[in-house]
Assembly symmetry: C2
Homo-oligomer: 410 residues x 2
Amino acid sequence: MNIVVQKFGGTSVRNLECQCQVMQKVLRPYREGNKVIVVLSAMSGETNRLLSLACEWAECPDPAEADSMVSTGEQISCALFAMLLKQQGVNCRSVLGFQAPVRTNDAFGKARITAIDSESLMNMLQEYDILVVAGFQGVTGDNRITTLGRGGSDTSAVALAAALDADVCEIYTDVPGVFTTDPNMCTDARKIDRIAYDEMLEMASMGAKVLQIRSVEFAKKYNVTVHVRSTFSDEQGTIVTQEDETMESVLVSGIAYDKDQAQITLVHVMDKPGVSAQIFSPLAEKKILVDMIVQNPSKDGKTDMTFTIPRADVKQTINTLEKLKYEIGYEELTSDLNVSKVSIIGVGMRNHSGVASRAFRALADENINILMISTSEIKVTCLIEDKYTELAVRTLHEAFQLDKGPVEKP
Amino acid sequence: MNIVVQKFGGTSVRNLECQCQVMQKVLRPYREGNKVIVVLSAMSGETNRLLSLACEWAECPDPAEADSMVSTGEQISCALFAMLLKQQGVNCRSVLGFQAPVRTNDAFGKARITAIDSESLMNMLQEYDILVVAGFQGVTGDNRITTLGRGGSDTSAVALAAALDADVCEIYTDVPGVFTTDPNMCTDARKIDRIAYDEMLEMASMGAKVLQIRSVEFAKKYNVTVHVRSTFSDEQGTIVTQEDETMESVLVSGIAYDKDQAQITLVHVMDKPGVSAQIFSPLAEKKILVDMIVQNPSKDGKTDMTFTIPRADVKQTINTLEKLKYEIGYEELTSDLNVSKVSIIGVGMRNHSGVASRAFRALADENINILMISTSEIKVTCLIEDKYTELAVRTLHEAFQLDKGPVEKP
């Protein structure tokens, strides 16, 4: 049995016309003799409508009840789509989270898939040619409905593809694929044909919203080949897959950025053992995601400690650290909200050293000052003043000739 | 464990304000130490909205998919109501058809409850003080969502009360109870304090929309005392219960009517054995509900056959019978759409003969011609010209002094 998984987002199913277009995509592999699993999101706007209704009813809506309510969005889009297919004479049915079942833990609102009953789904595939599966939702061990968090339908699709050993998992979206950088920021941005899971993870974590980050982790873990492509055209999109030699021969795959950053500096911190823990443990407890951390070389037993956090967490961070001023022992806390991160990403830089310096030179040539630097095996990130974000992205995109197709190693 | 079942319809949960009012009703038995099962309908208008959406998508929406879609109405109202209660600190949860589970057959759109897992619900009642159960919905043996048909939430409530051996099943509605007749038609209509299941069945089948007829059958079968009352006041409503002596001492309980009727006459039918079967079997096959049937005394081996059907089925009935004209052997088919039924209902008339004649006399006094008559143990029905419906209802209501409280037998 050849199985194709296709996932369509809220924009793609938002009305009858769009669903008819989606149907054409679905009927193609079906007519080629494949069994098709169609994973759908709620019609766009519906999830937000339901959440705001919940917020009218209660200040802090009970998360389990909110999930039961919000999951109706996918329930409706799946039923409607199955009706459309049935009318075409297709032997199909809708499958909700509890019907598959897609088991999750009980972290309502951001549940994680723990198991998918592939036997039950395989039985359904014996009986039906197309299953229209509700994305974004699952069910706990004791049958309470859960949702997987924003963009969770991507994860549903990848998890189903993994469980059913599908030939391919196509994620349809409103863009043609994954780009070398944000096309809204850089008109030279080019669609990437193939990208490694790790690169995609870095792109995704920097705000490239094409794929939910968790779905990429899932795909990597279970080695599911994901094809990101457009609902509104037939062109090939981007294949997200295992790293291979061709990919390694490419130096840089893309430029990502994140404007939602703030920089915090603790001035003249006592440079004593355990001070980092004193600073960052309380922030971790508050679930504040600290990213780049730089500690200046110590001078007279004192040091400056600088780090970045999401902009939304600035107030809470300042509050938390000011309460601990004497305990930690710092002189002053400064914050800067006008910063952003720009990253160069590529598995090819793993065994190549020239990438960082080439990037620094390109930024320097445009007089863009680098406030902080952090590097990983496949990424170089620079913190810069946020007014330079667009310029930096375009500069780096050009420096690595991403507009000209994959940059081979020199 | 004392269990109270309360059911609220769509009007009662249509917005936040109404749900807050409902909450007060629910909190009363809860504060008295009872466990409460709250059965809710969808917010009013929602079921129709979903059905018309389905009809946009498909000419004949697949009934299983339509059920999955329409059931979201109750899913949402239950989640919202549970949020409200939770916010008051009540230990509660929503329970969907598949979670209870309420098992049904697979007659999608008009499913019948086959079993309710009382053990599973009792376990939930150990853990929670209030269960907010979705009315109108159930689940088949293989976990597909079903709905019970219009007004099915009443049946859900009664079935739950039966399964859990509840002390009372309160059906809250937008009227104060069951009336001696339609108050919109007769200003003297009076709320009935107690009514027998059989009387209620007759009232319900004649279009008194306070209770769904199936729920009354269910209540009768499992001997569940139902209290029909208003969401918007605290006054006692109508108790629907087993017949008792007090009831039998009352001659007539109410006057019902049904304007949705048509009369069909086959003129000069060959009066031969089996002719009735020849006429009515094909109609039964088409699920046309034939009600009153009158066969005139035979003359020259021929007779006239007159019967009533719902007005919506007139075309289909005529088509069906015209095709069989020569087979049946009748001369002419006439139809009359301007008729309606008026009924006098009461268990007390079982062993009393004067009711029918008193009714006929009253109608005659107003020059209302009776086209057909049918009687049962507890009902006398007259078919009349429909322009006289209101007058007939008021006349009969007055003739049996229903405005003056229960009419004792003479």
